[in-house]
């Protein structure tokens, strides 16, 4: 057919070949980038945390550390800053135990279908708040609304108590239902949330829980 074409621009075989080349090239580039991205988002090790090596996705033992979210001068947006050791539910978790806990937390988050009301890393449904940096939300900190409501004295205890009976501590008419979350599951979910808050999300959400006042605090 193509030999009768007056011009290459109306030749089917030209466009077919071009489509194949462009598709192939895009796919190869995607696979190449995937290899690079995978190496960058591989979960870090406990060693990395101890030596202060910054990983985009830290080790599960990040739950044993204080986490902050601060503006980075260099990158122009907020980054998680992993601080000193801080007991989680009253203890320091071994790498094995932390890994097991994070596994249980992630599985529970899927089993309870959190993502069809909340967003995780901004993805999911829009019926309830984003959970990406929930661990760092002032509502759960000392003096925050949720610690007061649940009568607890730490972020993790407040979150765990809330998760086990959400309607009891509802703050709005739109309540979270009781999903039959056990104490073990609640502890694991909180570990998952704390770990997620330490992931480097390129500054999402921006100015997290800092109502706009024209001031920023910079990381070192």
């Amino acid at each position: 057919m193509s030999q009768h074409d007056p011009s290459v621009w109306s030749s089917t075989s030209f466009w077919r070949r071009s489509a194949a080349w462009v598709t192939g090239f895009s796919a190869i580039l995607l696979i190449f980038l995937t290899f690079d991205t995978m190496s960058q988002i591989q979960m870090g090790s406990d060693e990395d945390l101890k030596t202060g090596k910054v990983r985009r996705v830290p080790a599960p033992t990040v739950i044993n550390h204080a986490i902050e979210y601060k503006m980075s001068r260099k990158r122009g947006h907020e980054v998680p800053v992993i601080g000193e050791e801080q007991p989680f539910f009253g203890k320091i978790w071994s790498p094995e135990d932390a890994r097991a806990l994070l596994h249980k937390g992630k599985v529970t988050v899927q089993a309870k279908n959190c993502m069809d009301c909340h967003t995780l890393l901004g993805n999911g449904a829009y019926y309830a708040p984003d959970l990406t940096k929930a661990w760092l939300d002032p509502a759960w900190q000392k003096g925050g609304l949720m610690q007061t409501l649940t009568r607890t004295h730490s972020t993790e205890e407040a979150m765990a108590k809330f998760l086990m009976d959400p309607p009891k501590y509802a703050t709005h008419t739109r309540r979270m239902p009781n999903l039959g979350i056990t104490r073990d599951e609640a502890v694991a979910i909180v570990a998952f949330l704390k770990h997620m808050s330490a992931i480097d999300t390129n500054g999402f959400p921006r100015n997290f829980s800092k109502p706009h006042q024209g001031e920023v605090t910079y990381a070192k």
């Binding site: 895009s26 995978m38 089993a111 709005h172 999903l179 039959g180 979910i189």
Partner: protein, 490 residues
């Protein structure tokens, strides 16, 4: 009624009969999608509605899963329907195809019953396998995933078999065979578990994005090409050349456009540039597809009007839906997608109702519309009607569906706009910021309008449902009356 047509269709092809079954289930699931969407919309306004009985998460899950599944059913139906025409052969393993239709339908029913009555499970691996995987859009438990893969393999064998036997391999079939392989293969990327949420979402997007912004779009290109040949008698040579250009542009922009989902999930910053550049190009093929439909329509209309003094359109409802598809795809996927695709904007809009606004219009414009067009074409074939005309129901269903979806989209856009400004930019996106934004009048009123427009959409669907069920027989009988002299005695 449709059942009469299904029992004695005008075509002999068993593959086409199988296609009709897929269309029938698709239509039922379409209804379920809208019903559960309405329940979820009501809960935004009255959160106590069905609280602890059928919570938002469940309604929303059924809402989006029913959509994905009805579209896949209608896509399989479309391929089976055009397969004998395009290849000159029936599906390779028809009995098997028949069997897996029932297996798939049974599996879908079981999955939905588990969603509705078991809802959530304990935090154990077994929940992922038996109850729900808990990942938006692909919540189906792992056992169902494996079943879906088996069913798709049978479907693909049927299509490939007919294609390989064909004496002349058409461009439409070549694109479909390649595209379906990619579409099916990509599903595998969503079938694994990892504790690493960033990695989880990285591959989750391979399924979601590379389906709806790459392989499904190419599928639509191929189906629309075939529909244009059938409806207005477009020239295959022109249509297929366009199709290859569309494949080039859709995959050229869509594959790396995947980067716009990798801005904030823990992945490196270079995805900002890659995602922004390629996803900004994604509307280009959608403009091309729209122009292409208008071009072919105009060209054939001019020709048949001059030569035969009649309209070129042989199926008016299908042509209307092809046009809605062409423009809706561009508007919903293209424009509404571009709104928030740049990282500078997306950091504030990500995870707001902006995404929902885009999702509603894009899925309707890009996919629902073309699949409805295919249903009208299939019914025309089953009833043996030479020229299918619009009925009052076809017109009203189009008007209400388009008005309803556009209304919901605008309402959701207003909510997204308000969330972006108040919750994100002003208050910093925390717990309190979220609820403050949810309770402001702009948001609440827009939710009211969304529900009202959802009801309009649902009424439009009911009319469409009735029209699809009756149009075939009605126009078939009218034609019989025209052709045969009236019998002397009744």
């Amino acid at each position: 009624m449709l059942s009469k047509l299904l029992a004695h269709p005008a075509f002999e092809s068993p593959t086409k009969r199988l296609a009709m079954k897929y269309f029938a289930v698709a239509l039922v699931l379409f209804g379920a999608q809208l019903l559960f969407g309405l329940l979820a919309a009501i809960q935004f306004l009255w959160p106590d509605f069905l609280f602890n009985l059928l919570d938002f998460s469940i309604n929303r899950m059924v809402h989006i899963n029913a959509m994905v599944v009805w579209m896949l059913y209608a896509m399989i139906g479309s391929v089976y329907y055009l397969l004998p025409d395009e290849t000159g052969h029936e599906a390779a393993g028809l009995k098997l195809g028949e069997l897996v239709f029932w297996i798939l339908t049974l599996a879908v029913a079981v999955v939905v019953l588990v969603y509705l009555f078991v809802q959530v499970g304990p935090g154990k691996d077994s929940t992922i396998w038996l109850i729900t995987e808990g990942r938006e859009y692909i919540e189906a438990p792992r056992w169902a995933d494996i079943g879906i893969v088996a069913v798709v393999l049978v479907f693909y064998y049927n299509v490939l078999g007919a294609y390989l036997k064909a004496e002349r391999k058409t461009g439409i079939m070549t694109v479909l065979v390649a595209d379906l392989l990619a579409l099916a293969g990509l599903y595998l990327a969503g079938m694994f578990y990892t504790d690493n949420i960033s990695m989880d979402q990285y591959y989750w997007w391979w399924v979601i994005h590379l389906w709806v912004e790459a392989t499904w779009e190419v599928f639509v290109g191929a189906i629309a090409a075939w529909a244009l040949i059938k409806i207005v008698g477009a020239k295959r040579r022109i249509v297929e050349m366009w199709l290859w250009i569309e494949v080039l542009m859709l995959f050229g922009s869509g594959i790396l456009g995947l980067g716009h989902h990798y801005f904030w999930i823990g992945t490196p910053e270079y995805w900002w540039e890659i995602g922004a550049l390629f996803s900004s190009l994604e509307p280009v093929p959608l403009v091309a597809m729209f122009v292409h439909v208008l071009y072919d329509w105009g060209k054939e209309q001019g020709r048949t009007q001059a030569l035969e003094n009649r309209s070129a359109i042989r199926n008016a409802p299908a042509m209307a839906w092809v046009s809605i598809n062409a423009f809706g795809n561009f508007l919903g996927a293209g424009i509404w997608g571009f709104f928030h695709t740049l990282p500078q904007v997306n950091i504030y809009t990500h995870g707001t109702q902006f995404t929902a606004a885009h999702g509603h219009l894009a899925f309707f414009g890009a996919y629902a519309a073309i699949l409805i067009a295919m249903m009208y074409l299939a019914i025309q074939g089953a009833a043996g009607i030479r020229i299918m005309r619009m009925t009052a129901l076809s017109k009203w269903s189009i008007a209400l569906l388009v008005f309803g979806i556009m209304g919901m989209t605008v309402a959701l856009t207003i909510m997204g706009y308000e969330q972006t400004l108040v919750e994100r930019a002003e208050l910093g996106g925390g717990w309190q910021a979220y609820f403050t934004a949810q309770n402001l009048p702009w948001y609440v009123q827009a939710q009211g309008w969304r529900l009202a427009m959802g009801v309009v959409t649902f009424i439009g669907f009911v009319l469409l449902f009735v029209d699809l069920l009756t149009i075939g027989n009605r126009q078939h009988e009218e034609r019989q009356h025209e052709m045969e002299p009236a019998p002397a005695a009744a």
